[in-house]
Structure formats: C-alpha cells, structure tokens
Symmetry: C2
C-alpha cells in the first residue's frame, strides 16, 4: 500500500466516498489509487471552480464532506473562489492538493508555488504530508477539521513522493472519532432567554443547521412566546422552506432596507449567525445594519451543537408544548402573462416546481422575486451564494444532484455569473443529473448598473458600458448548453416560459432554459 492508497482507504473508512476531481501529472499516483477503489465515485469537472463548487453543493445536501482532487497551486487557485463561498457556508470539505515530490521543490520547476499561502485564506485548516507514512495522520486531521462544528474547509497538500512511496506500517486506516461539540454554556442560554423576555423588539437571527424544518419549528415557538421576530441571515448555505414549513424572511441586501428592518430592534440573538453588516461599504452609509443601542448576543459559541442550544433555549423560555409553530400554507400567486420578467419566472416556479426540489440560487439581482413568491410553494431546499464570489450556481447544483439523485435540482442562474463556471454543464450531462438550469438572460451585470448609478456617475459612457454589459454579441445559452451535451430551449414570454418549465419539471435529466428578460 502506498501513501495514495492509504489516503483513499482513510477517506472511505470515514464515509467520504465521492471525489470531485481535476487531476494532473503530480496526482497520477492518487488517480491510480482511486482507480483501485470502485467504492469511490470520481466526478470530473472541466475546471477547478466546478470541482470545489460541486463539493460544496454535495456536502450541503449530503450532510457530509466530499473530497476534491486539485493539481498543485494553480489548480487550487482555480478552485479558491468557490472555496471562499464554501468557507462562508461552513461546508465540510476535504481538499487534496497535489504537490511536487519533496526533493523536487528546491528546483523551482515551472508549476511550483507557495500552496499554503494560497490555501490559508479560504481554508479553516491546512496541512501537508511529509512522506507516505504521514499521509494517514494528515488525512485524519483533515477529516476531523472538516467535520468540526459548524463545518470547515480542510486543505491537505500531498507531495507526489508521499503518494507513490510504500507505507512501512500495515495498520488499517482509522475511523475517526469526531471531535465532540463544545459544551453548551447554560448561563449564556439563560441570559439569551432573559434578554428576549425583556427586550422591546427582539430579533432571533438564524443560519446554518438551524434552518432545517424541525429546529425552525422550535425557534418559531420561542419567537411566539418571547414576541421576537425570527429572521434568517442574508445568505445561508441551506434552508428548508415552502408549504408546511416556518415562513422566514432574510436580512435584506440593500443597505437602506436592512437598516430600516433593524431600526427599532433593541436585541439580536444570534443562532449560528453573524450580526448583519453591509455586503459592501458605500460613502456616507453605515457598515453595521444595527443601531448603536441594539444589544447583540450569541446563543452559543461557534463550535457548539446549535440544535441542542435551540432546545435548551426552548426549555428556558417556557414549556411551549401547547404552542403550535406557524407554518406556511400551500399557496400559489396569480400566473403572470406577457412580458417575461424575474417575477414571472418566480411565479411559474411557485406553480410548477415539484415537491422536494433543491433550488440553487445565483440569480443575483434577478432572483429577489423568487423568495416572496414561493413561501407557499411545494416544500424545497434553498441553497445560496454565501460568500459573494460569483460562479457557484451551476457547480453547486451539480454537487447537490449527486448527493440527492431522486430530487429535482433547479438552478436560478444569472447570465454574468453563469459564465464563470459554465463548464459545470458538461459534468451535469456526463453524470446524467436531474438538473434544470434557468438562465436569467438580461445580458448585463445588472447589479453593477445599479451600483454605478449609486456612485453618481451619471449615464454610463463607453468604457463603463463595455465593462457592465454582456451584449455585442449576446450569449446564446441554447447553443452553449448544446455544446456540452445539455438539452436547452429559449423562452421570451411569460407563457412560453411557464410551458417550458412545466415540461422540464416533468422529465428527468439535465435541461436549460434561457429566459430572455
């Protein structure tokens, strides 16, 4: 058994059996080792941003990490933007980054670079094997770091000679005992309960594992008892919503709206969430969305079991057994006719998306209508762009579909960000995934047009227009999808879109609708 075999065995022993990959020469012994492991599912991405984004989507839905295989510093670099998003979502992930053989590094061969410096900003943990025997321990550390609550990005560097050399020990790979969650601080929970009771206008702000059906019901009962507002963070890795689920708003994106939403709030209790701040800074606008008088408390520390903390808070705030959580009713907005707009798309989805769909939202400015139109849609999971690094929609859907082969995965994809990792369509075709992509083809970086107006730059001139518009020529998404083996069609009216959507939802396999807005 060589180091690469030991790595594969350790991953499999710990229930990591999907590897999203784009290998190179320095990883060839790892590829050979994977080839000896039929239990490992290897999924090729034609660009590393697809690889890391898919690993993110997979783990969000499978509730366990995938591995990635990346080729040296540049391969890692290509995957960093989606690692950034995964880091913000607290997604568990084990990245294996190939490296030159240890003795080859001093020669500074063309592909040599400082992998640690690249990895650190987007990882919670970075480690490096030094030889074949160290691979087992480093892999275990990586898995432990990935699984540590609330989830982490673990990046391990695998020198080629550590992979190809035989190990001296014949010990079997270890099944890791997960690190225990940080014990709950009962005093902290009592303090939160006390503060909720005393506040005039409290908000309970939620993200992470607390956004599933059961904990949301508990939180809603707490909110009723304490007269608190229950709200989700602006961006969340995964949220269970729709008919039969607690109806939840998110912190608005636009600074003025967020400030207004918290103008009267005197207490925010954070349930895994961060205190709301501006996505960007603007001249003369605040960075914090809260007033100076607003008290902010964490329900529990980051490493704690947030579900247990919610249950403890429920015990502190009152029996609550007699109070029913308020759940959204099945409800459909009026169909929209005529011009195809983001709202028309949202309404059509509210009508036609099947139960238990997984929505991957990278619609940016176009998607703000989806949320309010679908409180009463069939129950679904809602996955977001958590770190603001565009190019996650198509990869995220790819990974989610691999985790949940029996569920329809629908991507709300802005055209500008869709181009970042468009290669994911090919992986969807190859893996025969049940993915439906809706491209919001407004043919511009619409959000930036809004931002340029805010700057007070007046009407965009030639340079600004040419940096913010995606026309001249416009992208043909039907051909684009077809070039990678994905069936596609175009809709230019609300009615045509609704028809296409209904058809696409009724059949399996990858499909793309170019919605011309």
């Amino acid at each position: 058994m060589n180091g690469a075999d030991l790595l594969c065995e350790t991953l499999l022993a710990n229930d990591i059996d999907v590897c999203f990959a784009n290998p190179g020469t320095s990883e060839m012994h790892f590829v050979a080792a994977l080839d000896r492991q039929p239990l490992m599912r290897c999924v090729l991405g034609l660009f590393e941003g697809v690889v890391t984004g898919a690993a993110d989507g997979y783990a969000r839905m499978a509730d366990k990490p995938a591995a990635t295989l990346l080729h040296l510093g540049p391969g890692l670099a290509n995957g960093l933007a989606n690692l950034h998003n995964a880091r913000r979502a607290r997604t568990p992930m084990v990245n294996v980054v190939g490296e030159h053989a240890t003795y080859h590094l001093k020669y500074d061969a063309p592909l040599t670079s400082d992998i640690e410096s690249l990895a650190r900003p987007m990882s919670h943990w970075v480690g490096r094997a030094t030889d074949a025997d160290s691979v087992g321990k480093v892999t275990e550390d990586a898995i432990r770091a990935a699984r540590k609550l609330p989830g982490g990005i673990a990046t391990m560097i695998l020198p080629a000679d550590a992979a190809w050399t035989d190990t001296t020990s014949s010990d079997l790979p270890s099944v890791i005992v997960p690190e225990g969650s940080q014990p709950l601080d009962q005093a902290q929970i009592r303090a939160a309960a006390e503060a909720l009771r005393n506040a005039r206008n409290p908000t309970i702000l939620v993200t992470g594992a607390a956004l599933r059906d059961a904990p949301l019901r508990t939180l809603d009962r707490i909110a009723q008892i304490t007269n608190a507002r229950l709200m989700a963070q602006q961006s969340n890795g995964r949220m269970e919503r729709g008919a039969g689920r607690v109806q939840l708003d998110r912190v608005p994106y636009v600074v003025e709206h967020a400030v207004a939403a918290f103008a009267d709030t005197d207490l925010v209790v954070l349930v895994g969430a961060k205190a709301p701040v501006g996505f960007f800074a603007y001249p003369g606008k605040p960075s914090s969305m809260l007033t100076d008088n607003c008290q902010v408390m964490d329900l529990a520390e980051p490493g704690a079991d947030i579900i247990a903390a919610i249950d403890a808070l429920a015990d502190e705030t009152g029996p609550g057994a007699t109070i029913e959580a308020r759940l959204a009713k099945r409800w459909q907005p009026e169909p929209v006719r005529g011009k195809l707009t983001p709202e028309a798309i949202a309404v059509a989805l509210a009508h036609h998306m099947p139960a238990n769909a997984i929505i991957c939202d990278e619609s940016v400015s176009s998607g703000r209508d989806f949320f309010r139109s679908t409180y009463g849609a069939e129950p679904h999971d809602f996955l977001q762009l958590t770190g603001g690094a565009i190019g996650i929609g198509l990869p995220l859907a790819t990974g989610a579909a691999i985790a949940c082969p029996d569920r329809k995965v629908i991507t709300l994809q802005a055209d500008g960000s869709g181009m970042y990792t468009v290669q994911a369509l090919w992986t969807q075709a190859r893996e025969r995934l049940d993915t439906l992509t809706i491209v919001f083809a407004n043919r511009r970086y619409a959000i930036l047009h809004g931002e340029l107006r805010q700057v007070g730059a007046g009407t965009p001139g030639r340079n600004a227009s040419r940096m913010l518009d995606l026309d001249d020529p416009h992208l043909d998404w039907v051909k684009m999808a077809g070039s990678m083996g994905v069936e596609a069609a175009r809709a230019e009216t609300a009615e045509a879109f609704a028809d296409l959507l209904k058809t696409a939802c009724a059949k399996r396999g990858p499909f793309l609708i170019e919605a011309v807005l």
Copy 2:
C-alpha cells in the same frame, strides 16, 4: 480628483492605456474614473482568468504592461493561474485589486479575504493604498515593479474609500523614471567567454528578451565562434522564429529526452534562462537534466540588460563581424493527406499561416509537431504556456491581438485546457479580433493518459478513465464558439483542415476550427 482618478491618470501618464477588467461593486468608483478617460481602452473578460491571461499576451507583444481590474480576493483568485504563467514568463503587469473600504474590513463582510496572502505567490510585488493620497505613490511603485527587468507582476490593492475620496494634493501624476538595469559585471561576462572557449560541449541556453531576431543573430555568431550549441529554454514567453531567423531547438519536455540532450554537455551558460529541470518529478528519474559534472554559469544577473550582456559577450568572444548568423530558409514540408493528425495540422500551418503571425501555443501533447514543421514557415512569433497552469491559450491570443491589430493571431489549443478559460472567445468576438483558434479535439487529457501509463497503473479502469477522458458527451466546439459569437467549422480529415485553414487565414475576424483527431 479622487483616488481612482489619480490611479487612471498615473497609468496613462506612464503609457499604460489598456485595462483588462472584470469589475464588481467595490471597484465602481474606479469604473467611473475609467469612464472619464476615453484614452484608456477597457476590455471586459467574462472570467478573471481571461483578464490576466489577456494582460499577459498583450504585454508579451506590446513590450509594455497592461493594467487589470479584479474584484476583491475571489476575483484575484480566479486570475491567479494565469498570473502564475505570467510570473514565469516575466511579463510586466499592473494588477489593481479592489478591496472593501478600510473601515469596513473589521466587519468581515462576506467577500472579505486575505488578499495579500493570495497575491504574494503569483506576484513579484504587492502593495496596498491606505487612503486617496497614497494611491499615486502606490501606483508608481507598482509600475516601477512591473517594469523592473526582466519584468514583474505588480499587484496593488485599492480600498474602495481610497478610490472614492478626493485627493488633497493637486500635483500632476508622475511619469516614472524607470529603475536602471543592474550594471553588467564584465568579469562575469569574461568568465563566461573563457568558459565557452575551454568547454568541450558547451550549450548557451536562452530565454526572455534574448529570443528576438537581432540578439539571436548575435548569439548564433557567438555559438559559431565558440563551437557552442544554442538552445532555448523549454517554455518561453515569446520567441521570433521561422524563415530568415535563427533556427533554435528547445529543451525537450520528456525527462529521458532532456537528459539525453545534455548527457555530453559540460557547460551551460544561462542567458536569462534557468538550468533545465524536470517539469515534474518521477520515481527513479532525476530532477536536474544536467550531469553532476556540467558547469552552470549565468551570463548576467536577473536584473541586468540581457541584450547588452549578449553584445558584451560577443565583444569578448571575438570580432565575429565577418561571420554571418545561420538563418532558416523558407521551406515547406510535404502536405499530409488522409487522417487528421497533429502533424497534419502542423504541416498545414507551415503552408498557410501568413507572414508575421503570432502563434499562441497551448496544444500540450498535440503540439509537439508544430515546432519542427515550421522552422522554415513564414516568420512568426511563438508564445508559450510558461508556467504549466493550463487555460492560457485563448486569453493569451486575445491580449496579443489587442496589442497587434494588424497581425493574425493563431491559437493552438488543446481541448482540455481550452475549456478552462473558454469565455475568452466572447471577448474575441466583442473586440472583433483577428484570432484563429485551432482546437486539437482529441477528447481526452491525452498527456495524462501517457503519465498514467508511466505510473505503471495498467489499463485505466472506470475511475481513471472518467477523470482523464473528455467524452460521454464530447464537446461540440462549433456550437461552443457560436454561443459566444465566434464563427466556427469542423474538420475531420487532413485535406478538409488544410482547406479550412487556408480560408480562415485569408479573412479577418475571430474564427475557430475544431480539428477532430
């Protein structure tokens, strides 16, 4: 004038008038400032790998830096792989990376990351503006670092408030006095001349600015006088070659071939080059391509004027005025018929490519035939993948075509690496560039199949095949190009390819040929 205006003015004052860009909200004041500068040409890339790769191609052909505009840490991260290549090519480049406003950083908004840690591995210089007044000085430092011989990657970080705040000084932007090159060490040059005269089998190994027509003629005369072999590094940023130019081999890629090429070499004089090492390490194979007995000498230090050093070496080695450089004659190989092979493509190019074409080579395994078939082709520039980070071909061609609008730019593009930054086709269409892309559609990572064989892994099984093959489905490059507004056609025989190539060379504008191998 705000900090962003000062930045633009300083770039323009120093003859940097092309900005490859993909902006975001934090760069909106910079976009507005660029919009006030009609002399600045802003070129949008739909992914940052296109942006940095195009800036590389531009500078290689324009012999001056372009600027890039990148959106925060993730935008920089997306551009890092091609920055890695540019760093290896010693391309001058000024990257402007937007950053949150200084006072906003402590809030750790979603897009916050450690930009310096990301930038350092792929930059020769990293700096950060602290406020509007500092922008001028930081920009000057960046330009100076980019222009420092032999060329450098300068990455400056621009906080949004440094961009949007008015400057207090009304000084005009400075025209920078370039840093003088490091003075030549005459003793070092005499030592090299002496060693060349005394060696049994010396090689002069060349890269960088020495690979242009005139210095190569001088070097060839030196090689004749000293009975030395003249050779180019394996990968080079730019090389002038073809009929009427000095005929030069490169260090082979395959370790066994490189070792054989230097088996009898007792002296290597490096002219800007690095001593040859294996691109990768392999079990039981050496890292250095030279024997232990081979002496290695630098002709000059990295910061020196390499052209002056060559002239000085010519003076030391002898008058040479009576010796003519040996130049390649115009020569065409026999046309190939039948099956379309990499060789058939190379031969067709030797026949049909126009004078002064610019060849951007990212053909990886398929392109090894081009070099030997085209010693006697029309004179052309040959631009290579210098750092091994795939995904540079299409962006490189995009930048080269902007630098040289009157020259045909031909990209030899492997299909696997072409997918990495396929978005560059759109920029070629939008800018109406005279670019011709030849996709070597072998539908696999062919180089990795070879490497896997070397590992001794036997016939690839399911996992290995699915990581190394690009079939099921295969990519349709004609549709792909069409989706981005680039005309395209497919060739499946040598004759069809030659016909298509001839037609494509005779007309202007972006075109793509999918060569099915």
